[in-house]
Amino acid sequence: MRQDPEPEFREWVAARRSHLRRTAYLLCGDWHLADDLVQEALTRAFAAWGRIVRGGQPDAYVRKILLNLYLDHRRRPARREAAWAELPDTASVGGGASDLGERERVLAALREVAPGQRAVLVLRFWEDLSVEQSAQALGVSTGNIKSQTSRGLEALRGALATYQEETP
């Protein structure tokens, strides 16, 4: 008899949803969109939860779905422009003015990094994945990950320096 996947799924979501939201936000730079991406990723994951659990790596699988949704979203120009035309949602974010300025500077710099490179940076430095694990997550070669990491870091540093100079 097949076991009901819902309790286990809810338990997994309770433990991972906060981290997933932050990963999605680092990818897309918008909390509303991040929540949409996470909700859709979890919906897809629940539809295949039995198979995902049997695979033994639900974190990696749901991360793949999330990456796919983000990259697919970015691939469609109409949505790309709509999403990035908005400023990041910081209205409900706490912290002082200086913190807010710093956060927006970092977000603005991240926005300058190409989506594929940003995804690689998030995998490598937020998710703490190795080059090999990142390559597996994105389905590309390790060489591709290395080159994208290098270019992404270069772009991020350049953008941070630019926004630093512009800040009074």
Binding site: W31, Q39, Y61, L71, A78, D89, V93, S147
Partner: protein, 287 residues
């Protein structure tokens, strides 16, 4: 690179309240699972053509095909243009020369079979042309075709796409084309059963050509099988392909999903040269 990690942490430290509706996730996930089972059962009843040694092409009934999306469920943003762009034309001319490339006009209207490209090339044999959406063309693995004169129909998604011409070993030339789809010919990126995760670098090596869609796909499937040569028998995978319901209305340029041991493994994008040559291009690996 602890400094990058620190930067990331500073950005997400004060996240707004979580709006996730887990009950809705479970409800929608349950419906999605039910629909997928229904589609799978429908495909099982459809005609299965066995070509060659164990290659099965499952012809999914038209009724099961995904309808053109009118919006994105994750964002609510409409993706299909609704205004006819009078500056666009139903076909475009692409010229690949050693000293540059030309594109005219820069906007083109999608046809039922995709984007019609009249290609002329004076580049030496072995040169290629192709397209990419995300990364610069030089960094992508797939979507490369021989730069030979002729009329091509390409499965370019509506929106901006980078076209490139490249002499082997040299830096590609790139131009941006805008594809508009006022008639809703594009059926969407959604590929039933596959969650795309990235373009494989080995894609061009397994691009298949043939006098029909099935023949072209067969070449690609044989390339996948060849990669398993030399492995123990219990590690050799079965490969088959089925229509995926995405891409363009015309089945000739519709998308396909390759199943590896029955599980979605790879999507194929289809192009047509002239009327008689079909090209299967490995597109996205499935998660």
């Amino acid at each position: 690179m602890n400094d990058v990690r620190t930067l990331f942490e500073s950005v997400v430290v004060d996240a707004p309240p979580d709006t996730l509706d887990l009950d809705q996730v479970v409800a929608r996930g349950t419906r999605r699972r039910t629909v997928r089972r229904a589609v799978t059962a429908g495909a099982g009843l459809a005609a299965a053509l066995v070509i060659g040694s164990g290659i099965a092409y499952v012809a999914t009934p038209d009724d099961d095909r995904t309808a053109p999306p009118v919006g994105d469920p994750t964002t609510g943003v409409t993706s299909a243009p609704t205004v006819i762009d009078l500056s666009a034309r139903p076909s475009m001319d692409l010229s690949c020369e050693n000293n540059g490339m030309e594109l005219s006009p820069p906007k083109v209207i999608a046809q039922p079979s995709g984007v019609v490209v009249r290609l002329s090339s004076t580049m030496k044999p072995g040169s290629s042309f192709g397209y990419s959406y995300e990364l610069p063309f030089a960094d992508t693995g797939a979507h490369r075709l021989p730069a030979r004169d002729g009329t091509w129909r390409l499965p370019l998604a509506p929106g901006k796409v980078t076209l490139a011409c490249q002499v082997r070993g040299e830096k590609p030339q790139e131009l941006v084309l805008n594809v508009v789809d006022p008639d809703g010919q594009w059926m969407g990126d959604t590929l039933e059963g596959c969650d795309p995760v990235g373009t494989p670098e080995w894609g061009p090596a397994l691009t298949g050509t043939g006098p029909s869609t099935q023949d072209a796909i067969e070449v690609t499937l044989n390339g996948l099988r060849a990669r398993d040569d030399g492995r123990p028998a219990d590690e050799v995978a079965d490969y088959a392909a089925q229509s995926a319901g995405g891409g363009y209305n015309d089945l000739g340029t519709g998308s396909w999903v390759v199943l590896r041991n029955g599980e979605p493994y790879l999507t194929l994008a289809m192009a047509i040269r002239g009327e008689t040559q079909f090209v299967a291009m490995p597109d996205q690996l499935c998660g």
